[in-house]
Amino acid sequence: MVLDQPAGRVEDGKPAAPWRHDAKKEDLKHIGKPIRKVDARGKVAGLTKFADDLTLPRMLHMKLLRSTVAHAEIVSIDASKAAALPGVKGILTGKDLPIPFGILPVSQDEHALCPDKVRFVGDPVVAIAATEEEIAWEACRLVDVQYRELQTIGGIHEAAATDEPRLHDYGVRGNIHRLENLEFGDLQDGFARAEHVREDTFFFEGNTHLPMEQHATLAHFDKDGKLTVWSSTQTPHYLHRALARTLHPLPAHHIRVVAIQNGGGFGGKSDPFNHEVAAAKMAMLTGRPVKIALTREEVFWCHRGRHPVLMRSKVGVTKTGRITALDFQSYLDGGAYGSYGTASTFYTGALQTVTYAVENYHFRGARFFTCKAPCGPKRGHGTPQPRFALEVQLDKIACDLGLDPARIRLDNLAPRDSLTANFLRIGSMGLGACIEKVVAGSGWNERRGKREVTKDGRIRGLGLACSSYLSGAGLPIYWNGLPHSGVQLKLDRSGLVTAFCGSTDIGQGSDSILGWIIGEVLGIDPLGIKVVTSDTDLTPVDLGSYSSRVTVMTGNAAMQAAERARDILQKGVAEKLGVPAGRLVFADERVFDAEDPKKGMTFQEAIVCSEARFGTIGTVGSYTPPPTAAKFRGGGVGPSPSYSYSAAVVEVEVDPETGIYRVPHVWMAHDIGRALNAAVAMGQIEGSVYMGLGEAMMEEMAYRDRSHKGKRVFVHKIPSMLEYKSPSALEMPKVTTYVIEDPDRNGPFGAKEVGQGPLLPMMPAVANAIFDAVGVRVDEIPCSFEKVFAALQAKKDGKEGRYGPSSGADGVPVVDFGDSLKIKTPWQGGDGTAWNEPKREKKAAK
């Protein structure tokens, strides 16, 4: 439904603060320019401190003893030999930290140290602090843990088929953590009107973030009873909450969390982690600073990466390719804990409708507990898997109907300023422009389907795919009516502007965004602004660096704070100069009369005269996203102030004898509303192409599942940098990038998300390109060489040229989803609520 009213926040009948989305490019001094990041020079000089670079006097080193079995009850723990080792200063077990935690209020199912049960190889059981890391490691080897092993739950099918033993005593039933069943519109009618229906089954294997920095935490408990925790976390606010919960009765205001520079996050440092809680407790126990720096293997145990998802998608289209109905099922392998899994489950069904207008939509999602490292949010959180399925399926439909895969997408575009079937509010929408750019740039119309042969006998193919992603989640993780982001500005009489904000720079440049926006509004050099971030003692809350929320939410909060500061200075300067406030211009480090630019003063003088008039100058800004249109249960996942769009064409060269292929060139267009900084936006897009390429070609969280003499071994196959394959400098293709700027009225200067969305089309575009080259389908990610080869072999043998999960009844587990929640679409006159409310078993975690 196209909206009469523009999207955007309305308060008391007045439109929300304007975010200057309609500012003309030529009027902007700093926004859009390739200014270097505020922290760039420190990083290239090697001066940026990461958590493991910190040391404090008398600091202890902590190690965690982790489970060596996949699923077991802990019978006993004997740490007496460890305690006797010289240098050991503290030992913690589960009984010392009895309060559970977890990122979502509905799944507080983790303990810093397992009290009674372990659920995967790598689950921490004992923490030991010693004067040296080697001693702590040796001490861990001296601990005797006796386990009573329980049946391993190895994957989606096994979890669906195993009611007992349960990994957790909460969830829907058995080992089903979540079941969702949402129906928008009239599916029966939608499929009845379809002239072509396809049903396909897809699998997307799990993969992980693999940040270059291994997680590390330093905790210090001072003699005044105050705790400080420096950690590589993307979400200091949530860590703060988790510490306050688990360290009860230590009051929250006695806990300070500093999110120190993250050496890569990608979603992998968004949960409060065992090691963070344990280090804090250990610092309290020993009275000494405690540091833990995880090994690379332990980073794999932390994981929280991409869920393995099995998907079945049934789509109905008219003979011109217009989508009339979509029935989508997803089955998520959640691993051992809840993490963000509830949100992940919904996300596998949320954004299908934001790219293409889906008239009638049915989504069923199931998340299972299994004995794997817990899954969670990785760049694109829950949406890359269904996006892969949908984009490959659309390619197949185009093929079935003899249509151009680009055309079928253009014909189905969701309209701008509209509500989707599942009540997501689309604002600006540049997907059409994205598709046109990559089609033109890649020579799509001329080169597709030509199967050119390279000098070394490889066959060329082109594949196209699209995506959309959030500019931050519309609702907070825990229910509250508070702002999602806050910024405080301090204007010093020296001329210095300091911005305080809880947001966390994980390399994406969020610290710099504060500088660019404030600099633009106040007319001062962004690099002269001091930015103090991610310190719960000093900075107002920002919810964290996840769901691509910082540009829009922190940006808008920064803009509001800067506008307020500008108001104060304007008044002070206007009085001093006797010029109407409205005529004053802030630019080039000056405040001056627009009609007589010589009449004015420096920015620093403006602060001084305003401070003399009004007292110490400080302002605040905050941001809360617009209310969501979706009112049904589950409708909280998916809404966002705005959506970015991406389209990609990928070129592949496939060796038909081996299935080995390379990707020489990618064309990527990304609609980001407006680039706040061109070069940084480019870097985010190129980084997405890289990470998507890795997921498409090679990255996977594979598990070893072997049995010998009644003992079953179930453990991550390859927890190392070498054997978890990620693309090197040699695999990176040429990338032609198009930045599409379609300013969105909900973003600062019209900016939307940048840098998660363009990851998504890479996987389906690679699979589609392989089909274009050699005529076989790989319905599974990673689309690794052996799968291409298997599909080629199948075709050669006269079978379907496809590799993927079974498309038969056995392809997906049998799960009773119960009655669906039925929601009328906007075009059926729906108001965003469900008209039925089925009874469901529901039990929250302890």
């Binding site: 090697g46 693999l210 940040p211 061109a678 070069a679 940098m721």
Partner: protein
């Protein structure tokens, strides 16, 4: 022979002598970071699989996680902290900073040490030569492209050319 206990030795690091005591099983990575507090050198695996800990020994980029500290005694060790002269960054550091070739910045010191070594013996590297020189440095943020461009730009400037980044690399096509 070095017994397994600590002994004093003097290192030349970034042109300065550092006298430290360490045991022979300590790697150069550990001694740089933990004894000399030169934490600019990072670590990502400690098994030689990621390139994050790259430093130069006698001008050659090597993995400090697999080099015994004792074997670096008497050699010219250079770390990221030693690139800048006084307060002036090298052209390569400037280009890396300006182009956004350092995102999270964690692989950056290793990349810098590998690329700096390349430019010392090859003032005009091709894109393929740059890729090959950095084929042992994993980066998860940038997709490498801004790094390649920064090396090319720095090389041009070090040759005295008035080079600027291309419009495509800053604003897209």
């Amino acid at each position: 022979m070095s017994e397994s206990k600590k002994a004093l030795a003097t290192f030349q690091v970034n042109g300065e002598p550092h006298e430290v005591a360490f045991a022979p099983h300590k790697t150069l990575l550990e001694v740089l970071r933990e004894e000399m507090n030169l934490t600019g050198t990072k670590h990502g695996c400690e098994l030689g699989e990621c390139g994050t800990c790259t430093v130069q020994v006698d001008g050659v980029p090597i993995l400090s996680c697999l080099c015994l500290a004792v074997d670096a005694v008497g050699k010219d060790v250079r770390t990221v902290e030693g690139l800048a002269q006084a307060s002036e960054l090298t052209p390569l550091q400037h280009c890396m900073a300006d182009l956004g070739a350092a995102q999270c910045g964690y692989c950056t010191p290793g990349v810098l040490m590998a690329a700096d070594a390349l430019l010392k013996h090859n003032p005009k590297p091709t894109r393929d030569e740059i890729k090959e020189a950095l084929a042992g440095n994993l980066c998860r943020c940038t997709g490498y492209l801004k790094i390649f461009e920064a090396v090319e730009l720095a090389a041009a400037r070090m040759r005295g050319e008035k080079a600027e980044p291309s419009k495509e690399s800053i604003h897209g096509s």
